[in-house]
């Protein structure tokens, strides 16, 4: 885990070969665009009830938002080296709540639940709000496709390493990830995305972008495989702010 998660890559343009990155980005964008097109064609040509048409329109909106998040992340990652990011003290639990609130409509539309767990104690991390939000959104977007229908996806912030580090993880409860697939996920975690899927429905682009964002905050990403799903997490330095008070 450590080796792969601490790989620090440059901007997209510095990847050894740009082609796999472009192919992966194109592939990831193709899925939401293809779905939006199919739903739009359905609205144009099909004769569905008004309830069904509203459901389709809602799906178009949420799918386009997912595509837009990806384009925004892609744009953001090319600017990581252009300027220093302002690192600040972040209430990680509060940010988890915000991400859960933002993604709840998407989860609800998929009959899934996204919730935040953990105590009420503030867990303060040093990072950049925007980048951490993007990482957690990415992990939660990814978890949506692997969570079982009856099981929630859980975002949780905790401190470790004697309070020196903060881990914010997104846990999905779904079928166990086969070991060969898991090996590939771990191998490519945070490294350049693959032209083909490292985990089905994903080229690893989201993980790559998350790894870039974490690196810009002197953090790292990682993953844990469970018998009933997986946790993807980001580790950051803990803020000492409270200790100074």
């Amino acid at each position: 885990m450590k080796g792969s998660s601490e790989v620090r890559l440059g901007s997209a343009g510095e990847i050894g070969s740009e082609q796999p990155f472009l192919v992966a980005a194109a592939h990831e964008l193709k899925a939401p665009l293809a779905l939006i097109r199919q739903l739009s064609l359905g609205l144009e040509q099909g004769s569905y009830s008004s309830d069904e048409r509203l459901r389709m329109i809602h799906q178009i909106i949420l799918t386009s938002e997912r595509g837009l998040r990806l384009t925004s992340d892609l744009t953001r990652t090319t600017r990581l080296d252009d300027s220093l990011f302002a690192l600040e003290t972040i209430n990680s639990r509060q940010l988890c709540e915000e991400v859960a609130h933002e993604l709840t409509p998407l989860y609800k539309a998929q009959n899934r639940e996204l919730r935040v767990e953990g105590g009420r104690r503030q867990i303060l991390a040093v990072g950049n709000r925007d980048l951490l939000r993007r990482i957690l959104t990415n992990f939660s977007d990814n978890a949506l496709y692997y969570a079982g229908e009856a099981s929630p996806v859980v975002i949780k912030a905790s401190s470790f390493a004697g309070g020196e580090r903060v881990r914010v993880g997104v846990r999905d409860y779904g079928p166990a990830v086969p070991s060969d697939v898991w090996h590939r996920v771990k191998k490519h975690l945070g490294t350049a995305p693959q032209a083909l899927q490292s985990r089905p429905a994903s080229s690893g682009l989201g993980l790559y972008l998350s790894g870039q964002f974490a690196g810009a905050m002197q953090g790292s990403i990682g993953a844990t495989r469970h018998r009933d799903g997986a946790t993807f997490y980001v580790d950051l330095l803990a803020s000492k702010q409270l200790k100074l008070l």
Partner: protein, 124 residues
């Protein structure tokens, strides 16, 4: 009145599968949906559909594993399969015919009637 044909959609994108279902049900098919390879194999075993619409990259066993499994059972080998994927460019289409694949549809360019036409071509 003839019994309607049944179609099994094996697709991990739930909303894409819902749209395929709307199209096929409007055309008079009975549609079932499996969200991954394992559920797909189970659904084929239990309901023996008249045709299968199959995405390529799935959680669990992927489409090629599933096609291989179908070909290894005499009663399942003749079920026509239509591949529906975003990854047409990387598919070895010539070798897919040996696995009972009758058509390959590109999710990005297909139109609703293409799906119905591909299924009807094999069943009617």
């Amino acid at each position: 009145m003839n019994k309607p044909f049944s179609v099994l959609i094996i697709e991990d994108d739930t909303w894409f599968a819902q749209q395929q279902t709307r199209i096929l049900e409007t055309a008079g098919f009975i549609v079932r949906h499996a969200v991954d390879g394992l559920a797909g194999i189970e659904a084929i075993d239990t309901s023996t559909p008249d045709a299968v619409i199959l995405d390529i990259f799935l959680p669990g066993p992927n489409a090629l594993v599933l096609l291989h499994e179908m070909q290894s059972h005499a009663d399942l080998a003749s079920i026509p399969v239509v591949i529906c994927t975003n990854s047409v460019a990387v598919l070895p289409q010539t070798s897919l015919t040996a696995y009972g694949v009758k058509a390959v549809l590109d999710k990005a360019t297909m139109r609703p009637h293409d799906l119905v036409a591909a299924i009807k071509r094999e069943l009617i």
